[in-house]
């Protein structure tokens, strides 16, 4: 059993080496990808920044605090696309027959999907921006870096990655039923994410409910930011929500995984 786990880690590392090597076949492309991702995302932030700078605050959040809220999105997304790119791009994996090939190899199917795809250079772009935003804003909003806070932060980032990974896993499962899932992904991931750049308290009740209970993106950045910032709009939600991002992450991932298992059975019986 222990040997098996060591083996799995070795496999992960070897897969990473291979995906990085493949990217480095086109060195300039790879580096440009990091840059362009960074600039593209920084551009969207600049737009929000200059739009909001004319307001004093939004529901009590000043611009520095909003940047802090932002940074969680980029930090988690950067880690997300190291581990979950195979699910983000799953539609192609099924359509070009790579998925059948995974079924013919003596390893877990989901493991192969996750391990064999990593968007390393985009991760550098997103991660670089996330770190930059985080460092700049965290200093300005007086976050105190006690050991407890650092542990909380690490677990919360982990939970935030899992929440988004679960969304990708569910959408990937849907491609066993539908050939094209690009639009579903746009609606259930990208649109939801675009709400998350604001404190959820600014939205109508229905959108808040969606962001907390249906597609729990609020646990990726809003509630974790509240842990550090203690803004007054938190009064509208149960205090406990600040602490449970890792639990929410594990729970939705488990549910997504069960849905994946059922969908895989469907694929095997329908042959797509």
């Amino acid at each position: 059993m222990k040997k098996n786990r060591v083996n799995t880690v070795h496999m992960m590392l070897f897969y990473s080496k291979i995906t990085i090597n493949a990217w480095f076949q086109y060195k300039l492309d790879a580096i440009l990808r990091s840059f362009s991702v960074f600039l593209r995302e920084a551009g969207t932030i600049a737009v929000v920044y200059f739009t909001l700078i004319t307001f004093n605050d939004i529901n009590g959040w000043n611009i520095k605090e909003l940047m802090f809220l932002f940074s969680f999105i980029f930090l988690t997304y950067s880690i997300l696309i190291i581990f979950f790119t195979g699910l983000r791009d799953f539609e192609w994996i099924v359509n070009d027959g790579r998925f059948d090939r995974f079924l013919l190899r003596p390893r877990g199917v989901l493991f192969q999907i996750l391990a064999s795809n990593s968007d390393w250079f985009a991760a550098i772009g997103h991660g670089g921006l996330g770190v930059l935003l985080f460092v700049l804003s965290a200093n300005n909003v007086n976050v105190e870096w006690s050991a407890l806070n650092i542990i909380y932060f690490a677990f919360t980032i982990f939970g935030g990655v899992l929440i988004q990974g679960s969304i990708f896993l569910i959408i990937a499962s849907l491609s066993f039923f539908f050939i094209k899932t690009g639009n579903i992904r746009d609606v259930f991931y990208w649109n939801i994410r675009s709400f998350a750049v604001y404190p959820i308290s600014v939205f109508p009740k229905i959108i808040q409910v969606i962001l907390i209970y249906i597609i729990p993106f609020a646990f990726v950045n809003y509630f974790p930011s509240q842990f550090f910032l203690h803004k007054s709009d938190m009064i509208a939600y149960p205090e406990i929500y600040i602490y449970i991002t890792p639990i929410v992450g594990l729970t939705v991932y488990l549910l997504a995984y069960l849905f994946w298992r059922v969908s895989l059975k469907h694929y095997k019986s329908s042959g797509n």
Binding site: I18, N21, D96, G97, L103, L104, R105, P106, K268, G271
Partner: protein, 329 residues
């Protein structure tokens, strides 16, 4: 009594396909009330294959070949029937089972497009946990037999189709599988490249005792590698036996193609079917067991003949005629 290594019993698989409606109103109606058709892809196929056999698995497009291969390799479940291969039920013990088989798809490569061939091999070595000695031995053997030394360190995207196919075949065999499925491995290749692959498959089967299942549309592939042929059509097995047996049983037709000097009206010859061809040519179709070539030619001696050829039935033509429904088995 040798136990079969592959045992397939009354295999069935039906797919649900949505029925396409005509015209816009029909399509809109379809959106809300989709209509489905049930297509029986595989409808009660049974066979046994012994360790070390090489079996050609042949059928027209849509006959159910790929579906059967997918069920045998454990990618999809059968609706009904039993499969037992090397002591496993493919769709149940997937992870343990797949180490025993190799699958080569002519249409889908398993190599990484951007990486040198050898990198994909190294990955497979880890995926299958192949021991160093076995890996080294297989690697050297395949590089030599498949003549890969000139391109083993090149990225796959730079290879010719024939090179890529050879590399793909080696990739599927690194873990020394006992049973190998070849699904159209010669598709799109030229004669020389095909021959390399055929001789390698012969080697695997004859020298290494690997059990081979080979699907292809090129009957020469089958003739040169397999003794046994399974023909399937519309989800049913229609022939299972030796290749020679099929030729003997259905070579009841000979064709004499004659080019005349001018258009003649030929007198009827009993038991011979006469068809007009282009120009002044005609063909004479007859059963060689009933009518001899000599007697047909004798009947034509009064006409001026420019050229004359005799065509025998071969496996290629028999299979083509079976596809086209001209021969009923």
């Amino acid at each position: 009594m040798i136990e079969p290594i592959i045992r397939v019993e009354n295999l069935k698989k039906t797919f649900k396909v949505s029925k396409r409606a005509n015209g816009l109103p029909g399509r809109i109606a379809n959106l809300f009330f989709p209509k489905y058709e049930y297509k029986k892809a595989v409808d009660g196929i049974s066979f046994n294959i012994l360790q070390g056999e090489a079996v050609g698995f042949v059928g027209a497009n849509g006959a159910g070949k790929s579906t059967t291969i997918k069920m045998l390799s454990g990618i999809i479940y059968p609706d009904e029937g039993n499969i037992e291969i090397a002591g496993f039920i493919p769709y149940k013990d997937r992870k343990k089972y797949v180490s025993n088989i190799g699958v080569v798809f002519g249409q889908k490569s398993q190599l990484s497009w951007d990486l040198p061939v050898v990198d994909s091999f190294e990955l497979l070595r880890r995926i299958y946990s192949i021991s160093d000695s076995v890996y080294k031995q297989n690697f050297e053997k395949f590089v030599d037999l498949l003549d890969m030394s000139s391109f083993i360190n090149q990225p796959v995207r730079q290879l010719s189709l024939g090179q890529r196919m050879r590399a793909d075949i080696a990739a599927s065999l690194l873990h020394s599988p006992r049973i190998v499925f070849f699904d159209e491995p010669t598709i799109g290749l030229d004669v020389v490249a095909k021959e390399k692959i055929r001789s390698f498959i012969r080697y695997l089967n004859k020298e290494q005792g690997v059990t081979i299942i080979f699907t292809t549309h090129d009957m020469q592939d089958i003739e040169q590698t397999c003794e046994r042929l399974i023909l399937i059509d519309k989800g049913h097995k229609i022939y299972d036996g030796s290749i020679n047996g099929l030729v003997d049983a259905y070579a009841y037709e000979k064709k004499l193609v004659v080019e005349f000097m001018q258009d003649y009206t030929i007198d009827e010859i009993s038991d011979v079917l006469i068809n007009d061809l282009e120009g002044h040519s005609k063909e004479f179709v007859f059963n060689p067991h009933k009518v001899s070539v000599k007697s047909v030619i004798n009947n034509l001696s009064k006409y001026d003949i420019v050229d004359l050829t005799v065509e025998n039935m071969n496996i290629e033509r028999i299979v083509r005629q079976i596809y086209e429904g001209e021969i009923k088995l």
